[in-house]
């Protein structure tokens, strides 16, 4: 019988909070094993303790004040009993970690090749020159073109995907037996995500590495692991082979989680109350918002880049236009111009057929980050009342009444007026953001990535709320997101953006089922598939495409 690569039994992690020995339990009695060459995925929503488990495998809680109980053995080393020297050998030598944010996870001051060489030298005692050669070798292996020259670059000279490749190269440098990847693709665009997952998959097959993949994205796990562990509130909810957990979940929570995951072929949430999804016939009236030849550039002379390069679109009352695109495609810039937060360099925005002048109450915005888009020093009621005050309402009693109404409308309580943003969860804060946007009774709300900072179950609730509000009041919505599945759920029409231009636009089913533009097809092919068998099929077809390219 081969010894397991990772053995975790009854792991409990407590973090101290405040003083007086108070603590929160981040991980509550988790056990699992992972054999060499196998892959385990840990999925769960934020705060479920999944990253804490990953960090515990490398003993990263040492010296932070956290209290651990239970046993953690990695590659035969008892992590909690290991001496500092043993721990240093384990870290990188036996088990290497790939972190989420590839920009902040590399030293910004040093050349990438030097950083990899430094780690390699610690574990191999190789000479400076040999370590540098090894760095180039692993960079080449992870697909960095011209590795000799690129190894001298600083992290800021790499794109997001290349940085993540460099981090994986660092992990490979010391020939570890286990790779721990904590949300390795969360900060990346969907096409880059597919490439990174394919790379991890290839490396695993090539070197027989064990893989522990921590992710909030069930689709990412489905593509990459053999076994799945579902966590919630620090405890393991369900564990089993990936196919059976995903297709026949035993636990109610797993079913709930899977049901909330937006799917490309899933039900249209905006139609949930309308069994008959007849396409709306655009009314004879002028569109609520219309953009004609919008263009906006950024940057200084000589290095100017057009973020939006000539975009025209129109949204009518009661309609939702989805805008999808990868980072840097110009979708947020476009959204800001529609609202009037940014002036276009050329082109025109019309609200109800009239050229728009500045910011008006008739067009509102919901922002991505519900934490930073609310003033932490003012109560949520005050924040919601702001647009009303801006519109000239002075009567305090009337303001309170209207804000209370709005709070109830978005599923909160009127009595929450005097509470502060930190007292709410992420999803509740986004509800506050929506209430603020609704306050001046707008005809159009532009939502810029309104759910991408939220967990899937919360995401589903917020998109349902938006759809419900739209049915009631007939407002028009522009829904900007990078997540193709979410956009399909909520939109009537969709526009696909790339490099500042709309490459394809049309009714949502048409674009998703019969994409006309190659870029749309590429995007759709990169979306993680929940069915492991289908995912494997997709991967092999992608790999053929890489080979021919």
């Amino acid at each position: 019988m081969t010894q397991a690569l990772v053995e975790v039994a009854g792991l409990v992690v407590d973090f101290p909070v405040g003083g007086a020995g108070d603590h929160v339990r981040a991980v509550d009695g988790v056990s699992f094993t992972l054999r060499a060459g196998r892959a385990l995925g840990i999925v769960g929503e934020s705060g479920s303790g999944k990253s804490t488990v990953a960090a515990a495998l490398l003993g990263l809680h040492r010296g932070t004040g956290a209290r651990l109980a239970g046993t953690v053995r990695v590659g035969g080393t008892d992590v909690s009993a290991a001496t500092p020297a043993e721990l240093r050998r384990l870290r990188g030598g036996t088990a290497a970690m790939v972190f989420q944010d590839p920009l902040s996870s590399l030293d910004p001051y040093l050349a990438i090749g030097d950083q990899i060489a430094e780690v390699h030298r610690i574990h191999s005692g190789a000479s400076r020159r040999a370590a540098r050669a090894r760095a180039v070798e692993v960079l080449d292996r992870v697909g960095i073109a011209d590795a000799v020259r690129r190894s001298r670059a600083r992290p800021h000279e790499f794109s997001g995907g290349m940085r993540q490749r460099a981090l994986i190269a660092m992990a490979l440098a010391c020939e570890p037996r286990l790779l721990i990847a904590d949300e390795p693709t969360t900060a990346l665009d969907v096409t880059v995500q597919a490439q990174i997952l394919d790379l991890l998959h290839g490396l695993r097959e090539e070197r027989g590495l064990g893989l522990l993949l921590v992710t909030h994205d069930v689709g990412v796990a489905a593509e990459s692991v053999d076994e799945l562990l579902v966590m919630r509130d620090g405890a393991a909810v369900e564990r089993g082979p990936v196919a059976s957990v995903l297709t026949a979940p035993a636990e109610p929570y797993t079913r709930e989680l899977l049901a909330a995951v937006p799917r490309l072929d899933g039900p249209r949430r905006s139609r949930s109350g309308h069994p008959d999804p007849a396409p709306r016939t655009p009314g004879p009236d002028a569109p609520v918002v219309e953009a004609v030849g919008l263009r906006r550039e950024f940057g200084r002379r000589g290095r100017r880049v057009a973020a939006v390069a000539g975009v025209s679109l129109a949204v009518r009352a009661g309609e939702t236009l989805g805008i999808v695109g990868e980072s840097g495609s110009g979708k947020s810039t476009l959204g800001r111009m529609l609202v009037g937060l940014l002036e276009p360099d050329s082109g025109q925005v019309r609200h109800g057929g009239v050229p728009a002048t500045g910011i008006t109450g008739g067009v509102q915005m919901v922002f991505q980050d519900p934490v930073s888009s609310l003033n932490p020093r003012r109560s949520v009621g005050e924040s919601i009342a702001d647009p009303l005050r801006a519109a000239g309402e002075r009567d305090t009693a009337a303001l309170r009444a209207r804000v209370g109404e709005l709070l109830e409308r978005v599923g909160l309580e009127a009595g929450h007026y005097d509470r502060y943003p930190h007292e709410f969860s992420g999803g509740q804060r986004q509800r506050v953001g929506i209430a603020r946007a609704l306050a001046p009774r707008p005809r159009l709300i532009v939502c810029d990535e309104p759910v991408s900072a939220l967990d899937v179950t919360t995401q589903a609730q917020v998109t349902a709320l938006l759809a419900e509000l739209q049915r009631e009041s007939g407002i028009a919505l522009v829904f900007i997101a990078h997540d193709l599945a979410v956009v399909r759920q909520v939109s009537d029409r969709v526009a696909v953006m790339r490099a500042g231009e709309i490459v394809e636009e049309g009714p949502v089913d048409e674009v998703y089922d019969r994409p006309a533009h190659p870029y749309t097809r590429q995007l759709l092919a990169a979306v993680p598939e929940l069915d492991p068998a289908l995912a494997a099929e997709r991967r092999s077809s992608r790999q053929e495409a890489y080979a021919t390219a």
Partner: protein, 330 residues
């Protein structure tokens, strides 16, 4: 790089020009008649009128300022009565009312003493201050850190002249290890120069060290909390290497920026230390000139200090860019 230097020089010239306008405005509105001040106590009205003529004080304020600029760039002549002219070579800052010495020459003779003091103090605070800060960041939570915290707090809380007096009393009066310092120029006797400057260096350097120890400690701890430090910790890099190889680079940036400003200010601002140890530096010169309303000297020294601050700032920017490649010099 060339572009950066040119831009900085252009910027520096603008700053100095603005500074010179400001001082001249103050000069113009200052109480008292410059001609009377320049002439001295026992001048009769005719003599005062003659001095006024010589100094060009009959001209409009704008013309006087333009003549000042002309003197800086090309030199100028002052009439010395009886058709004679007193020539002042560029860069001309005029003549002292008190000593009739050329201000430019005066500044040049005082500069070495000030530079000697400031450079020594800089070396001490970079060594002692940054060293202490790094040490307490490395030993956080231990007895060493607590001891260092107490020391640096005491250091920041002690005014520089008290520190200087204590050192002077202890070392020169009580222990008698050193004679009371007098300034000896470097060119005369390097050894005596260093021995005599030792106490002023320590006074100023230790005083500043306390501030730099706290700055270095906090910025190192901040740098240690960054994500990339976690990466290298997860790859088995030891704590010492984490600090000395990875965290330090992030931590030095504010130290460089603040050092440049402090060094620049020290060119004219180390008055207390200079007075205490009898160092004939620019700060002492400035205060003496202000006391007797020797306006040309005040203008000249203030401009010199301004130039020092601007140059130190530019050097800091260059060092900053060398430490962090993401900073574009533009």
């Amino acid at each position: 790089m060339t572009r950066f230097v040119l831009q900085r020089i252009g910027g520096a010239l603008l700053v100095l020009l603005a500074l010179s306008v400001l001082i001249h405005v103050l000069f113009y509105f200052a109480p008292g008649d410059p001609a009377r001040l320049a002439c001295g106590e026992r001048c009769n009205p005719q003599q005062i009128a003659q001095v006024r003529e010589q100094l060009g004080l009959n001209e409009s304020a704008v013309a006087q300022y333009l003549h000042f600029l002309q003197g800086l760039v090309a030199g100028r002549d002052y009439s010395a009565g009886a058709g004679q002219a007193l020539h002042c070579d560029a860069p001309c800052l005029g003549f002292s009312y008190q000593t009739d010495q050329q201000v430019t020459g005066l500044i040049l003779t005082r500069l070495p003493a000030t530079l000697s003091l400031a450079l020594g103090a800089l070396a001490i605070w970079l060594l002692v201050g940054v060293g202490t800060g790094l040490l307490s960041a490395l030993r956080r939570g231990g007895i060493t850190e607590r001891l260092l915290t107490v020391l640096t707090l005491a250091g920041t809380g002690t005014p520089v002249f008290i520190l200087g007096l204590l050192l002077l009393m202890a070392v020169c009066a009580y222990l008698q290890w050193l004679p009371f310092p007098t300034y000896v120029p470097l060119t005369e006797d390097p050894e005596q120069w260093a021995w005599n400057l030792l106490l002023p260096w320590l006074t100023l350097g230790l005083f500043e060290s306390a501030k730099y120890a706290r700055l270095t400690r906090s910025s190192t701890l901040e740098a240690l909390a960054e994500d990339h430090i976690r990466t290298f910790r997860a790859y088995g890099v030891g704590e010492r290497a984490l600090v000395t190889r990875h965290a330090v680079r992030g931590a030095v940036a504010p130290v460089i920026a603040l050092s440049a400003v402090d060094f620049g200010t020290m060119i004219g601002g180390a008055v207390l230390t200079e007075s205490l140890f009898g160092i004939p530096g620019l700060g002492k010169t400035l205060i003496d000139a202000v006391r007797v309303v020797d306006l040309p000297v005040v203008v000249g020294v203030v401009l010199a200090i301004g130039a020092a601050v601007v140059v130190a700032g530019a050097i800091a920017d260059l060092l900053y860019a060398a430490a962090d490649r993401r900073v574009a010099l533009a």
